[in-house]
């Protein structure tokens, strides 16, 4: 982040802020710096957008644990929108950060009662349960949420992860089946499904192999799936005490070649050496 940017036109700063906020891995200290600069120097120019900038200040300052800034931004927001649930949820997040989890659960329960379709609040409530280590409660709330918002793919993934932590791989698999149905061409869902099947145990290795190969038809250079194919087919072979059928052998050999090529092209020498060792291990 350069100082020049901050002294340039405010529109550029605003643009940069929006770019930063769309990133998957957000750098909250940058967001805080940009947003703070905007509200102190250009609040009038921003017009109605200033409130969104305040909102990002609240979230970013919480991540940097600078609660003083959070409180001052929140007071601006609640003065402007005294009845807003969105602001109320932000207040809840501050309570969460300070560790008042029982208080905040009450607040969210209250909002949930008044506005049963408020997604933000329901999601926050689930995270509070999760942070208190109440995974079962989180699962219950998440199931309730998904019965209302069945199309929320991220929520299905979260539910899946919670089931995995609770060792309920059957239900974890079910979550991914839902996702595969809604988006059959996404390789990521097949990949996760294959990994769950493999973890479930030997009865499910056939379907693990099936889904790993499906991933490879959708994304031929998926390293995880290539390793997965080799691992699964060898595991099946070891279990059934038979040599690989010619079709399976072709598949495994192809995966090995493909991996070698991909590693060689990447120019990572340590990686190449480790791959060689791994392949030798399987060949033994």
């Amino acid at each position: 982040m350069s100082k020049e940017l901050l002294s340039s036109d405010w529109r550029l700063v605003y643009e940069e802020l929006q770019v930063e906020q769309k990133k998957l891995r957000k750098n909250y200290s940058t967001i805080l710096l940009l947003a703070n600069h905007l509200v102190t120097h250009n609040s009038r120019a921003l017009g109605q957008n200033v409130w969104e900038v305040y909102e990002s200040i609240v979230l970013a300052s919480l991540d940097c644990s600078d609660y003083e800034i959070t409180t001052s931004a929140l007071s601006k927001l609640s003065a402007r929108f005294p009845k807003s649930t969105r602001v109320l949820v932000l207040k809840g997040i501050l309570l969460e950060a300070k560790g008042h989890s029982d208080e905040v659960l009450e607040l969210y329960q209250e909002i949930k009662r008044n506005e049963p379709l408020n997604r933000e609040c329901r999601k926050r409530k689930i995270t509070v349960h999760k942070s208190k280590g109440q995974n079962k409660m989180a699962i219950q709330e998440l199931c309730e949420y998904l019965s209302l918002f069945i199309g929320d793919t991220e929520a299905w993934l979260e539910l899946c992860d919670l089931y995995i932590i609770e060792l309920d791989l059957y239900n974890a698999g079910f979550c991914i089946e839902e996702l595969i149905l809604s988006n059959p061409l996404s390789y990521l869902n097949h990949l996760k499904y294959a990994e769950i099947c493999y973890t479930k145990g030997e009865e499910y290795w056939d379907s693990a192999a099936k889904h790993y190969t499906k991933v490879l038809t959708l994304k031929p250079d998926s390293i995880r799936a290539l390793f997965g194919v080799i691992l699964t087919f060898y595991a099946i072979m070891k279990m059934s005490r038979q040599n690989l059928q010619s079709k399976e052998k072709r598949m495994v050999d192809w995966a090995k070649c493909k991996l070698k090529v991909l590693y060689r092209n990447s120019g990572n020498e340590t990686g190449c050496r480790m791959l060689e060792n791994t392949i030798q291990y399987f060949d033994k």
Binding site: I164, I165, Y198
Partner: protein, 199 residues
């Protein structure tokens, strides 16, 4: 006999810290490499594993095979470190136990370093304790090894190095490596930097 004294090298410590700091919001784990017959047990190096998909086994098995076949008989996987995404969780879960079962098939005295998330706030202070709870396997279950002690000669300097120079941004774990094979999950860059600092 359970191990009672464990030494961790500055490189290994710096890598663990980098991994935790890079993926602060996730559950992260990794493998400890050391000498089988060392006394005190010395953690020489660390291979960071995952920050997603905790609890699924296929890629973990691949990582274990890769390391197992790479190291000579003397140097081997001597344990495992784990940091939960949840600050409050202070004891290993079923998945940690399973991984430890697997590691102790090869090395009986395997140790688990569970990261104490609260202690992480104080690591930069001189003379502070290392932020780990040590667990070891006793009678086929994981127990807190209350007598075991972990020490490092230069932990303070390596934590300053990691935090102030933002070394953690260059940390690569096996998850990253599987997404992009160009990335080196042995983190030789961090090794070089730390080693040059101490030589």
């Amino acid at each position: 006999m359970a191990t009672t004294s464990i030494e961790i090298s500055p490189t290994a410590y710096a890598k663990i810290l980098s991994h935790i700091l890079k993926y602060q919001h996730y559950t992260v784990n990794g493998l400890l490499i050391g000498n089988q017959n060392g006394d005190p047990l010395l953690i020489q190096d660390v291979y960071p594993l995952f920050h997603t998909g905790h609890g699924l086994s296929p890629m973990l098995e691949i990582a274990l095979i890769q390391l197992d076949t790479t190291f000579s008989s003397e140097q081997t996987i001597i344990g495992y470190y784990h940091a939960f995404e949840n600050c409050k969780q202070q004891s290993p879960d079923v998945h940690c136990e399973r991984i430890m079962d697997k590691i102790s098939e090869h090395f009986k005295q395997a140790i688990l370093l569970l990261v104490d998330n609260h202690a992480l706030t104080k690591i930069k202070e001189e003379g502070s304790k290392l932020p780990f709870h040590i667990f070891s396997r006793q009678d086929s279950s994981l127990r807190l090894a209350s007598k075991a002690q972990i020490f490092s000669n230069e932990s303070c300097i390596s934590s300053q190095e990691v935090i102030e120079k933002k070394l953690y941004e260059s940390c690569v774990d096996f998850d990253d490596h599987l997404e992009d094979t160009r990335l080196d999950w042995s983190n030789s860059k961090i090794t070089e930097l730390i080693v040059s600092k101490f030589s």
